[in-house]
């Protein structure tokens, strides 16, 4: 069963067609990948889904509900969460505070928010920090962490938020290659243990081939191919697109 349905979405900036007639669907409970060369319109599609700009035509449905007219906060409150390519964390606060702010506010009434964080909340925050390997750094100002660590923190914050779907924009970019295997493992565990549907933009072929059940490949704003990782790996059009033979 699919949870996000993108059908025939087009989006252009001035004369540049960033997405034309793109249709994809994200399976509930699975890991879906989105690949494509630079400038193929991956991030544009992401931003269309989470509501950063209007689309020209087509429809985007989340659990059957049309979301292409909704604003960012409304979409996020449906449980559709995203991380940023350039990480965004609250740099002036420490890691634990960052985690506690990421508690799922969409599930709280105003009265719930007028309470202090409970010991369980804090425990969960520390547990998740441990999960991503940042426990040692939990009391440091998050702005002082390295870029890779900030990415991990952002991932942990996303998990803290208990999303239904998590959209990750290049989760391994800028991360030390020795840590990538660990991150792949954690992403898979987030999917299997917490039951979070993942939708991942990724440049690193090895990473996405290792994880995703279904992969979509964009080129020049159009959907080039879709299928399992083997199918994509053996698709001549995908190889051409990546090698620049077009």
């Amino acid at each position: 069963m699919s949870i996000i349905d993108v059908s025939n979405v087009s989006k252009s900036y001035g004369g540049v067609k960033a997405n034309s007639d793109v249709s994809i669907s994200v399976e509930k409970g699975g890991i879906t990948g989105l690949i494509g060369p630079n400038g193929s319109g991956k991030t544009t599609l992401f931003n269309s889904i989470v509501g950063y700009h209007p689309i020209d035509s087509g429809s985007i449905k989340y659990e059957g509900q049309e979301i292409s007219q909704m604003q960012v906060p409304e979409i996020a409150r449906l449980g559709l969460l995203r991380t940023f390519q350039q990480t965004r964390i609250y740099g002036a606060m420490n890691c634990v505070e960052n985690m506690l702010i990421s508690l799922p506010h969409r599930k709280m009434s105003l009265l719930d928010t007028l309470k202090r964080n409970t010991a369980e909340d804090r425990e969960r925050a520390e547990h998740l920090l441990e999960f991503v390997g940042l426990y040692e750094k939990r009391n440091l100002r998050s702005g002082s962490l390295s870029f890779g660590q900030q990415k991990l923190l952002e991932f942990a914050m996303a998990l803290m938020n208990e999303p239904t779907v998590l959209l990750l924009d290049e989760p391994t970019a800028g991360i030390n290659p020795t840590l990538i295997n660990g991150l792949i493992d954690r992403l898979k565990r987030a999917n299997s243990e917490f039951g979070i549907t993942l939708f991942i933009i990724e440049h690193n072929m090895r990473v996405i081939m290792n994880m995703a059940d279904t992969i979509y490949c964009l080129a020049h704003g159009e959907l080039l191919a879709a299928g399992s990782s083997e199918e994509i790996q053996n698709d001549q059009r995908v190889i051409d697109a990546y090698l620049g033979a077009h």
Partner: protein
């Protein structure tokens, strides 16, 4: 709460209660000081803690004055007739009428202001950064101009309220305690609020609103509620102010955009944005500066005040608390080196997190 902290608060409370009797000659100034503290603390709720720099909070002050005055009049007389006579007719208030008017007026002012914050905020919180500042300033200026053209509430002449039934000094002390109680309640309220999830959420809005939105935080709800809470207390303070001034008019004393409207911002910047004590300390420093310049540099006081604003904003924007925070981070429970981590400290740091 530690013994030291309890002792400090007790000493402060005694000082607050005793000061109007110890310094009877400064009765009015002490009341005004409380007013500054209240408006600075309320401005910091949005400006410092939430990152929304309003230049129009004075709207709630002015509106609070008018609402309190109108309620206390309307309980006894017809408002149109009362203002039409502009203090000329014989309109007596009994003691009971005065005090009921005072209590219902100030509380009513707070409630009215909180409600109007919801309405105005619904529009202005769509604006960010400088547009929010300009938009709210616009609201305050427009309100002042419209009220000064509205004859039913006295127009440009303003309103004259009954004087305190009793002797003058007693009236000053009454006003002082009205302010002081509001201020202390506000302090207790904020001390609690900033430690809740709510406090953390508005801090998140300040630090990165786009991220907070993307995390599903109800940003609009938090912004509105914060502004409404802040407006409630400004409204109450405005209401008390109306009874303190007795006679006031719209442009210079109620919607005084360039006086109190800016002073409250300067107080907060002086003391340190986004801290609990910063606005209080800033208000005290500012009030001292203001009294000194008004007494010794008469004629040049406004120039000195303008210079103070410029210097504070340009050279000292983090304020006293911000400066202490960078020079003495350990006072604020900030961890700089990971080696001094231990369990109890962690809990303390997380508990104070919202600060």
């Amino acid at each position: 709460m530690s013994v030291q902290k309890t002792g400090l608060y007790a000493a402060l409370l005694i000082f607050i209660v005793a000061s109007p009797f110890v310094f009877p000659t400064f009765g009015v100034q002490l009341g005004t000081l409380w007013l500054m503290i209240i408006v600075a603390m309320t401005w910091d709720m949005t400006g410092g803690q939430m990152g929304y720099n309003s230049l129009g909070n004075i709207f709630f002050y002015g509106t609070g004055m008018y609402v309190a005055a109108l309620i206390s009049i309307a309980l006894v007389y017809d408002v149109g007739e009362y203002t039409g006579a502009s203090g000329g007719g014989r309109y007596d208030f009994t003691d009971a009428q005065y005090f009921t008017g005072f209590v219902l007026g100030t509380i009513g002012a707070g409630i009215f202001c909180a409600l109007s914050a919801f309405v105005i905020g619904y529009v202005t919180f769509g604006l960010r950064g400088p547009y929010f500042a300009i938009g709210t300033l616009g609201v305050a200026i427009a309100a002042g101009e419209l009220v000064s053209n509205w004859d039913w509430v006295g127009g440009g002449q303003g309103i004259t309220l009954p004087v305190y039934p009793g002797d003058l000094d007693e009236g000053k002390i009454f006003i002082y305690f009205a302010y002081a109680i509001t201020g202390v309640l506000l302090f207790i309220f904020l001390n609690w609020l900033y430690k809740t999830r709510f406090g953390a959420a508005i801090n998140a809005i300040r630090d990165d609103e786009e991220k907070a939105e993307a995390m599903g935080v109800h940003t609009m709800r938090y912004k509105l509620v914060t502004w409404a809470m802040s407006a409630f207390f400004i409204g109450v303070a405005g209401g008390i102010s109306a009874f303190q001034l007795i006679s006031f008019e719209p442009l210079e004393s109620a919607y005084q955009t360039i006086n109190l409207g800016i002073f409250m911002v300067v107080c907060v910047l002086l003391g340190g944005k986004g801290t609990l004590w910063g606005p209080i300390i800033g208000a005290i420093l500012f009030q001292i500066f203001k009294e000194v310049t008004w007494n010794y540099f008469l004629g040049w006081q406004w120039v000195a005040l303008g210079a103070l604003i410029v210097v504070t904003v340009v050279y000292f924007q983090d304020g006293l608390m911000g400066w202490l925070r960078t020079t003495r981070p350990e006072w604020f429970g900030l961890t700089v080196d990971e080696r001094d981590d231990d369990a109890p400290q962690t809990a303390a740091a997380a508990g104070e997190g919202a600060k």
